[in-house]
Each structure stands twice: as C-alpha cells, then as structure tokens.
C-alpha cells in the first residue's frame, strides 16, 4: 500500500487550473521531495491531501483511505506543516499543542515528548507571540509530530531558520525517516531535498513535469565535461556533428556535452584523431538544482 496516491487529482479556481490531473504515488517509508516554482500547485496539492481543499476532479488517497470519503481515517496518523506556522498567539507553545492534542484525541503526554524532540522545552510556557520565526517553525514541526504520524507532510520546514537550525531540522527529518516514517517534503532548498529525498516530483503550472528517483533524474541531467588546449571552437564544431550529441555549450573554457557519460572515451578518441589535445575529460555532474532549473525552464 502506498502512503499517498493521487488519481487525476485536479483543482480549478475559476479559470485558473491550479493542479491538473496529477497522478502521484509515494511509497511507505519514502522521503519524497515535492518541488516546483512558486504557484506551481504544491501547497494546493498538499491541502487536497489533507482534506482542506476539495478537488474539482480526481481522488486523493492517504494511507489507504480516500481523503474526501474517510477523512478521519485517512488523516488519523498524518502530521502536517503547511506554509507558514499558524498558532494562537495568546497561548503558550505547550497550550497550543494541548489544543491540538485535545482536538485529535491524542494523549496529553505526547505534548512534552514532541516539545523535547524539537528542543522547545525551555520556552514551552511562553506565549507564542513572543517566539522567533525559527521557534514557531520548530513548534509547527512539533505539532506535526503530535499524532505519532506514519506520514508527515512538511511544507518549507526550514523557512526562517538559521543555518544551525536548518541542520537540526534536516537531522530531525533524517531521524524521522530512519524510523520508517514516510515524509513528503516541499522545499525551495534543493540541496536539502537532494540530501534527504529518495524520490522527487516536480510540478509546474499544476502539471507533473518530472518524477523519479533522485539519482536517476540526476543521471538524466549528466553529460561529459572536457577541456582542450587552445581554442575550443574546432572541438565544439566537431562535437556538434555527432548524431548522439544533443547539445554542446562552453562554460568558463570547459565544453559541456549533452551525451551519455559512457561515450567519454569515444569523444576523447575522436578529438585526438582531429589533432585536438584533450587536457581534461570526465562526467559533468549536475545537481538537483541544475536539473530543476533545466526542466522548469524548458518544459
């Protein structure tokens, strides 16, 4: 059973299509990155998965239950943090969690446990209105952990955190994932996603434009990188004539070739035969950030 499954999930606001026939599956125990530019439909999708936004069409299934038909069963063991943290400013951090614990029928003892997990015990009795953005962020994660969730949806969990706080939250997500929990992570910090996630999906204008294992997607963005002695133009000209090369660019004296890395030796031999001296050749490793920018620009 998948932790999340969407079938042709669609949300239309008037003429604007926020999410367009989204088919997505997140397996149990996965750390899944959900990416996309601002306004791509990520938060709307999460809101539909949480039963907060009604789909125009399609189905959202969470932990085996249809969110629209059986919301209580679907969300029983789901923790979520959506957009900016939202709390009652006149209540303390602990009381805010008590409100949520009572609402969800969760034992009050969990409040102390999750406050310890996010290291907010010292300020638990202070009013949330006095909290910094980072503390509110941590409290929101504590709120998401309250139901001892099987599935956690985190929308920009490190927003407003300092570098140390970001590392703490990253480690926390890692430890949650290590415990077998499924995590759906939305973040603009793509190196964070690259480090944490097994699989990602990229959304643009409500449509799914790429999905798969992080390693596979990065291989898709890989190519061959080489340097030649002297003027690179003859080499560029030669490489562009090859049928299996889909693109050649020059970046800071390096030639980047859109071609399988396995062809590197072949490229080297061709250039030598053309009396071009290759000074350096190897795989061009692309980051998730580069891949993301490429697909969101071109698709």
């Amino acid at each position: 059973m998948n932790a999340i499954e969407t079938i042709d999930l669609t949300k239309r606001y008037g003429k604007r299509l926020a999410v367009d026939r989204l088919n997505l599956t997140v397996g149990k125990g996965e750390v899944f990155g959900f990416l996309g530019p601002n306004g791509a439909g990520k938060t709307t999708t999460i809101a539909m998965l949480l039963g907060l936004v009604r789909p125009t069409k399609g189905q959202a299934i969470v932990l085996g239950h249809d969110v629209q038909r059986e919301p209580a069963l679907a969300l029983r063991r789901v923790g979520a943090m959506i957009e900016a943290p939202a709390f009652y400013p006149y209540l303390s951090g602990a009381d805010n969690l008590r409100v949520l614990a009572r609402a969800g029928g969760i034992p009050a003892a969990r409040v102390k446990e999750v406050l310890e997990t996010v290291e907010l015990n010292d300020r638990a009795r202070d009013k949330v209105a006095t909290y910094s953005q980072g503390m509110k962020q941590r409290l929101a994660i504590a709120a998401a952990l309250l139901p001892d969730p099987e599935l956690i949806m985190l929308d920009e969990p490190t927003n407003g955190l300092d570098p140390a706080g970001t590392v703490e939250i990253r480690n926390l997500i890692r430890s949650l994932a290590a415990g077998g929990r499924t995590i759906l992570l939305c973040s603009h910090l793509l190196h964070e996603v690259e480090q944490l996630c097994n699989r990602v999906a990229i959304l643009k204008e409500g449509k799914l434009i790429a999905a798969g294992e992080v390693a596979t997607l990065l291989r898709r963005g890989q190519g061959v990188r080489l340097r030649v002695q002297g003027n690179p133009e003859p080499a560029v000209h030669l490489l562009r004539t090859l049928p299996w090369v889909s693109g050649v660019t020059v970046q800071e004296e390096a030639i980047i070739i859109d071609a399988p890395v396995e062809r590197a030796a072949e490229i080297n031999a061709l250039l030598i035969r053309a009396d071009i001296v290759v000074a350096e050749i190897g795989a061009n490793h692309s980051s998730l950030e580069e891949f993301f920018l490429t697909v969101t620009r071109t698709e």
Partner: protein
C-alpha cells in the same frame, strides 16, 4: 474516531482556547463594569428621588413614582435577577456578538483552522463544538453577572432600606431564566458566527452580527404600530426582535418586574405569545446555523489572512 468522539475532543480543545482568551476576559470585564455603572445609576436615581443622602431633607423629582418603584424592584431580590438577565440580553448581547465573531473568525485570521481540521476533519463537529463552548462561556458569564448583581443589590438595597425577599421558588426559576437568556442570544451569536465564516475573518463576524442586530432592532420597533392593526402586528411579530422581547419580558416578569413601565416596546399586549417566540427564534437560529455549516463545509481552507 467517530463524529461524537471528535465533537467531545473538539469541545475540550475549544474550551481550553476560550477560557485562556484575553478577549473573552476583557469583554466580561467591560460588561461587568457597565452593569456596575447601571446598578449604581439606579441606586443614585432612587437615592436622590427619596433624599437618602440628606435624610429626606432634599429630594429630586427625577422619574414617575411607577418608574421609581420598578427601579427599586430591580435593586431588590429577586427582581435583580430579572434586571441582570435583561442587561445580559441587552448590552451583553452586543458583547456576545463580538466574542462570537472573535472565536469563529480568528481561526481564519490566524490560519489555525487548517491545523485543527487536519486533526479533526469533521467540519460539522468543529462548528458544533465551537458553538457549545461559546454557550458554556456565556453561561459562566451569566452566573458571574448574576452573582455580582446580587451582591450590589444587597449593598444598595440595604442603604435604600429595600426589602430583600428570596424564596426557593426564585432560585428554582433562575435556571429557566438563564436558559431563556441563552436562547435570546443564540440567533445573534449564530449570525455573527456565520458572517465570520462567510467573510473568513473576525471583522466580517462583528460587522455581520452588529448590522443584523441594528436592522432587527429597527424593524422590531415597528411592533408599536401593531396596536393599530392586528394583521400588521402578526407580520411584525414574525421578525426576530418582538420574539426576543417576549422572552426578555418573560424573564423580567418571572422575578416580579414590569419592563413596560420603562420601555413601551416591551408592552406584553403587543408582543407574540411565548410559544411563538420560541418557534421563531428556533427557525432563525436554524437558518443561521445551517448557513454557517453549509458555507464551512463547502469552503476551501487556506492559510492565514
């Protein structure tokens, strides 16, 4: 988790929120202060008219003897119960609208609604829990007001030499009076809650509640022309205000007061019977409550406003 359990859980959560809410305490403080001023004013009027401060040497003719007699009853036991319940349904009603708008609207303003609904996703249970928690808060406020009013009545009544007689029947009637006071406030709190949900904010709730109240009070004053024509009276009595007035008058009469001495609109001969009042209030409450539920149930819940 079934809906009933979800409702009980949500009620506990809502009670925690209301009982710690500074706005609720502030509004209660304002109401108690206004009630204190009102009782003090009544005391001063009677004291000046009867020359209490000068041992009868200097008296002022401020009100008619019938009105003074009425005010004296309002400062004595058990009449003070009727007077306090009447104040609760007057000034208290306006403050209840503000409190309701705050309770319903702030979950939209702060964006906390989406967190609550992911924990307990039955929107009907959420709405009902909020409403019941609000009624409990109003009940506590009514009890505190009655206690303060009684203490002040004992103090002022002793100074004025008024008889204080309270029987077991009066105490038994008190819960009925409190229930009537809650029923009187119900449609106004529901329209404020519905407005807050439709407008997704506290300000929409306050605006909707107060505009309806102003309209209702203005339209309700038409009942004086009901004396001219029974048909007109029957129509006007389908408005909320005359029916509300009927229950307020019933509460006063139950504790020996006659409000029509001070307010012509509370003349019992022009008001609808109590059974009609209860039905009309129930119908208005059902319409407002259902509107709130239907709107919330169809809404997409976003972030903070």
């Amino acid at each position: 988790m079934d809906t009933r359990t979800m409702f009980t859980n949500l009620l506990a959560a809502e009670w925690l929120k209301i009982s710690r809410r500074p706005m609720a305490l502030l509004l209660l403080g304002i109401f108690l202060f206004l009630t204190f001023l009102q009782q003090t004013l009544w005391f001063l009027v009677v004291a000046l008219q009867e020359g209490t401060f000068s041992g009868g040497q200097v008296t002022f003719n401020l009100l008619s003897p019938a009105a003074i007699e009425q005010i004296k009853r309002q400062l004595s036991l058990p009449g003070v119960f009727g007077a306090m319940l009447s104040a609760i349904n007057g000034t208290g009603g306006i403050l209840a609208i503000i409190l309701t708008a705050g309770i319903f609207g702030s979950d939209f303003n702060w964006g906390t609604l989406r967190i609550l609904l992911t924990r307990a996703p039955h929107r009907g249970a959420y709405l009902l829990a909020k409403l019941v928690a609000l009624q409990l808060a109003l009940l506590v406020a009514i009890i505190i007001t009655l206690a303060m009013g009684t203490l002040l009545a004992l103090l002022f009544g002793t100074i004025l030499g008024l008889p204080q007689q309270i029987g077991i029947i009066d105490l038994l009637l008190l819960p009925i009076g409190i229930l009537r006071a809650l029923i009187v406030m119900l449609p106004y709190t529901l329209i404020a809650g519905a407005s807050a949900i439709v407008g997704r904010s506290v300000i929409a709730g306050v605006g909707g509640g107060l505009i309806f109240l102003a309209f209702d009070v203005s339209a309700g004053s038409l009942n004086t022309i009901g004396a001219v024509d029974p048909m007109i009276r029957a129509l006007v009595n389908l408005l909320l205000q005359p029916n509300i007035n009927r229950l307020v008058v019933e509460n006063s009469r139950m504790f020996g007061l006659d409000q029509s001495v001070l307010t012509a609109a509370l003349d019992l001969s022009l008001l609808p019977p109590q059974w009609q009042a209860l039905i009309v209030i129930a119908v208005y409450s059902a319409i407002f409550g259902y509107s709130a539920y239907r709107t919330l149930n169809r809404q997409d819940i976003g972030g903070a406003n």
